[in-house]
C-alpha cells in the first residue's frame, strides 16, 4: 500500500489515492501529438463534441419519448416538439448532430486514407474506426425508426428485408430481426432498446479502444514522417519547444481543437435553427402508414452510396438475379473498407497521397465516385440515372480490386529507387 501522508491540499489528497497527477500526465500534458498537422486532425475532437451533444440531447429526449407504435409519433411531434420547454431544440440538435456526425466521420475517414494513417502499425486504429462507423450506422438507423413516421417505417421495411437475401435462413432471419412477420410494435421496441442501450454501450467502449490504439503507433502527421516521439518529447520538456516536432495534447493540441470545434458548432447551430430539412426529412413528419407507400423511399444521405451500390445492379447478369448481385456488391461495399490496410500492398511505406501518384488518382476517383453514388442513390433509378448508378457501382468495386495491384507496383518502384 502507498505511503499516505497528511495531504497538502485537495489535489494532493486525491493524488495519494488515485495518482491523478500521473494520470493527467499520461492522458493529457505528456501525451505527444505531432506539430506538423492541419485542421483535419481536429475531426476526432469534433466527433467527440458531436457525440456529447447526441448523448446529452438523447437523454433529454428519452424523458418524454414513448416506444409504442400508438404513441411514438405524437410523443415526438407533439409532446417533445410542442409541449416540453425547448423540446424542439433537443430534437433538432439530436437529428442534425446525427447527420453532422456522418459528415465528419467521412472527412475523418478520407483524411486517414489520404495521409496513409491506416497502415504500418496503425491498422488497429483503422479497424476500430471502422467498427465505430458500423456501430454509428446501426445507431443512426435504429434512431431513425423511433419517431415512427413514414420514412421510419418504410426504411425499416426495406432495410430489414435485405436480410432475406441471406441463403437458406434469410426469411427466418428477417422475422427474427423484426420480432414479427412485418415491421410492427415489437420491431420498434427492440430497435429502441438497441438505440438507447446496447449500441451506445458498444460505441462508448469502442471509442475508448479507438483512443487506446492511437497510443503506441502515435498520431500521423501531414507529411507522414516517422518521428522519434521519445526524443522529440525530451526536447520539448527541456524547454526547446520551437525545435521539437511534437506538442502535448493538453493544452497545445486541444487549444487548436477548441477553435475548430467552435467554428464547426457555429455552423451546426445555424443548421439546427434554420436549415434542418436535410437531416430531418419532411416525409417523416407524416405518421407511419403501412397501407400507403411513399412515392420515393430513400435512406438518409449518409447511407446513399451504399444503397446505390445495392440497387445499381438492376439487371440479371449471367443467370444471376439482379437483386442477388446487388446484395453481394452491398456486402462487399460494407466490408471492403475494413480490408483497406491489407489491400494496400505497399505496407512499409507511408506517405500522403500527393506523394503517391497512382494512389493519388485512386483516392480522388474514390471520393468522386462515392459522391456520384450518393447523389444517384437519391434520384429515381430510371432511364439514364440507372446506368450512371450501375457504372458508378462497378467503378467502386473495381477501385478496390485494382488497389492491391497499383500499391504492389508502387512498392516495387520504391524498392528500385
Amino acid at each position: 500500500m502507498a505511503q499516505i501522508k497528511k495531504a497538502e491540499g485537495f489535489i494532493d489528497w486525491l493524488d495519494q489515492r488515485l495518482a491523478v497527477k500521473a494520470f493527467m500526465r499520461v492522458m493529457m500534458s505528456e501525451y505527444w501529438i505531432p506539430k506538423n498537422i492541419n485542421f483535419l486532425w481536429a475531426m476526432g475532437v469534433v466527433l467527440i463534441a458531436l457525440f456529447a451533444v447526441l448523448l446529452v440531447t438523447g437523454l433529454l429526449l428519452l424523458m418524454y419519448y414513448k416506444p409504442d407504435v400508438a404513441l411514438a409519433f405524437d410523443s415526438v411531434n407533439y409532446t417533445i416538439m410542442q409541449e416540453v420547454e425547448y423540446g424542439w431544440l433537443w430534437r433538432h440538435m439530436h437529428g442534425v448532430a446525427a447527420s453532422a456526425t456522418f459528415l465528419i466521420i467521412y472527412i475523418h475517414l478520407f483524411t486517414g486514407i489520404y495521409y496513409g494513417s491506416y497502415k504500418k502499425g496503425r491498422e488497429m486504429i483503422w479497424l476500430t474506426g471502422m467498427v465505430l462507423f458500423v456501430a454509428f450506422s446501426a445507431e443512426a438507423f435504429s434512431g431513425y425508426m423511433l419517431p415512427w413516421g413514414q420514412m421510419s417505417y418504410w426504411a425499416a421495411q426495406v432495410i430489414t428485408n435485405l436480410f432475406s437475401g441471406i441463403p437458406v435462413i434469410g426469411d427466418a432471419v428477417v422475422i427474427w430481426i423484426r420480432g414479427d412477420y412485418v415491421v410492427a410494435d415489437a420491431t420498434l421496441t427492440r430497435f429502441f432498446m438497441l438505440h438507447v442501450v446496447l449500441l451506445p454501450l458498444v460505441i462508448l467502449a469502442v471509442i475508448a479502444v479507438h483512443f487506446y490504439t492511437l497510443r503506441f503507433p502515435h498520431v500521423n502527421n501531414q507529411d507522414s514522417v516517422e518521428l522519434d516521439f521519445e526524443a522529440e518529447a525530451k526536447t520539448y520538456k527541456e524547454g526547446r519547444v520551437k525545435e521539437s516536432n511534437v506538442v502535448p495534447f493538453w493544452p497545445v493540441f486541444l487549444s487548436k481543437d477548441f477553435f475548430v470545434v467552435g467554428f464547426f458548432m457555429t455552423f451546426f447551430f445555424f443548421l439546427v435553427c434554420y436549415h434542418f430539412d436535410f437531416a430531418m426529412d419532411p416525409i417523416n413528419f407524416e405518421p407511419a402508414n403501412s397501407m400507403k407507400t411513399p412515392a420515393h423511399i430513400y435512406p438518409e444521405w449518409y447511407f446513399l452510396w451504399n444503397y446505390e451500390v445495392l440497387r445499381g445492379f438492376f439487371f440479371d447478369i449471367g443467370g444471376i438475379a439482379a437483386m442477388d448481385i446487388g446484395l453481394i456488391a452491398f456486402v462487399f461495399a460494407n466490408t471492403v473498407f475494413f480490408l483497406l490496410p491489407f489491400l494496400d500492398r505497399n505496407t512499409m511505406h507511408t506517405a500522403p497521397a500527393h506523394k503517391r501518384p497512382a494512389f493519388f488518382v485512386w483516392f480522388w476517383l474514390l471520393v468522386v465516385d462515392m459522391i456520384v453514388l450518393t447523389i444517384y442513390g437519391k434520384l429515381p433509378p430510371t432511364g439514364v440515372n440507372a446506368w450512371v448508378g450501375f457504372f458508378a457501382a462497378v467503378l467502386f468495386l473495381g477501385l478496390f480490386i485494382v488497389l492491391p495491384i497499383i500499391t504492389k507496383y508502387e512498392a516495387k518502384k520504391g524498392e528500385k529507387a
Binding site: L40, M265, Y274, P282
Partner: protein, 284 residues
C-alpha cells in the same frame, strides 16, 4: 495558407454532395408545376351584378334545407352524424362562404360542382356528388346567390375559422383538439380514402407545396380524392397560417434563439482562437 486550401476542398465536396442530394434530387423527384391559379380562369367569370335581396330568397328556398348559416342563427338541419350518413359528408356552414371562397369559383361550383372541384374521377351519374348542380339557374340567379353570401359576412373569419369551414369537414387537427365534422368511416366511404390529420402538414409538406396543393390538389397528386376547394388567395394564406401555427408552434422561438446560439458559438470561437494563438506562440 495550406489550411485554407484544404478547407476550400472540404467545403467544395460537401457542397456538391449537399446540392446533389437536396435541391437537385428534390427537383428531379418533384418536377416544377405552374403556380396556383387564384383567378380560376377555366371557369367562366360572373359578368352580371348580383342582387343580394333576390339572393336571400333563393338561398332560403334552395340551400338551408341542408346548410346551416350559424352567423344568422340558422343551425344546420341535421346533426353532423346524420348529415354524414345521409349525404356522405357533412355539408358546410355558409356563414363565411362569401369571403372564404373565390367569387367566380362559387358561381362555377353552383353550376357544376364536380367540374369545379375537379372530382370527375370520383363522382359521376352512378355515384352522384352530394351537392346537386344548380345548372338550371340563370346567370343572374347564380350571381344573386353569390352576392347574398358575400353580403351576410359581417366579420372576417379567424385563421382557425377559415380552416374549420373550408377544411374541417373532412380533416382533423389533432394537435389543436379539432376533430373532423364527418366521421372518418363516412369519409372513406364517400371519397374512397381517409382524409389525413393535418397537425404536422406544415413540416411534412412545407408551406410552398401547400400553397399550390390546396388550390389544385390534382395538379400535385394524380388521382387524389381531395377536391379543389376554391379558396381565395387571402383565405388560403389564412389556412396555411393556421396549419403552421399548430404544426410549427415554436417557429418564432426557434428563429430568435438561433441568432443567440450562433452568436454564442461565434464568441466562443473567437476566444478559442485567441487562446490558441497565445498558446502556440509560447508553447509550440
Amino acid at each position: 495558407m495550406r489550411e485554407v486550401k484544404i478547407l476550400a476542398i472540404v467545403v467544395f465536396f460537401t457542397a456538391v454532395t449537399y446540392w446533389g442530394v437536396e435541391p437537385y434530387a428534390h427537383s428531379q423527384m418533384h418536377p416544377h408545376v405552374a403556380p396556383a391559379d387564384f383567378g380560376f380562369k377555366e371557369m367562366e367569370p360572373l359578368h352580371v351584378n348580383g342582387n343580394a335581396d333576390n339572393g336571400k330568397l333563393l338561398v332560403e328556398a334552395n340551400c338551408i334545407a341542408c346548410h346551416g348559416i350559424k352567423s344568422l342563427g340558422l343551425e344546420a338541419p341535421m346533426s353532423p352524424e346524420d348529415a354524414a350518413s345521409s349525404y356522405g359528408v357533412v355539408p358546410p356552414d355558409l356563414s363565411h362562404a362569401g369571403v372564404i371562397y373565390d367569387k367566380n369559383y362559387l358561381a362555377g361550383f353552383l353550376k357544376d360542382p364536380v367540374r369545379a372541384t375537379k372530382l370527375s374521377h370520383k363522382f359521376n351519374d352512378a355515384k352522384p356528388y352530394a351537392m346537386p348542380s344548380y345548372g338550371f339557374f340563370s346567370d343572374q340567379e347564380i350571381a344573386d346567390v353569390v352576392a347574398y353570401l358575400q353580403n351576410i359576412v359581417a366579420t372576417k373569419p379567424s385563421d382557425k375559422g377559415v380552416f374549420e369551414e373550408a377544411c374541417g369537414r373532412c380533416h382533423s387537427m389533432k394537435y389543436d383538439a379539432l376533430k373532423a365534422q364527418t366521421p372518418s368511416a363516412s369519409m372513406k366511404n364517400y371519397l374512397g380514402a381517409e382524409a389525413p390529420d393535418l397537425s404536422m402538414m406544415i413540416r411534412s409538406k412545407k408551406a410552398e407545396y401547400l400553397s399550390t396543393f390546396i388550390n389544385e390538389p390534382l395538379k400535385m397528386v394524380e388521382g387524389i380524392a381531395m377536391p379543389r376547394v376554391g379558396l381565395s388567395e387571402a383565405s388560403q394564406q389564412q389556412v396555411i397560417a393556421y396549419i403552421e401555427k399548430v404544426g410549427d408552434r415554436k417557429k418564432a422561438e426557434r428563429e430568435s434563439l438561433g441568432v443567440k446560439l450562433i452568436g454564442f458559438m461565434a464568441i466562443f470561437t473567437l476566444i478559442a482562437y485567441l487562446w490558441k494563438v497565445s498558446i502556440w506562440k509560447r508553447a509550440a
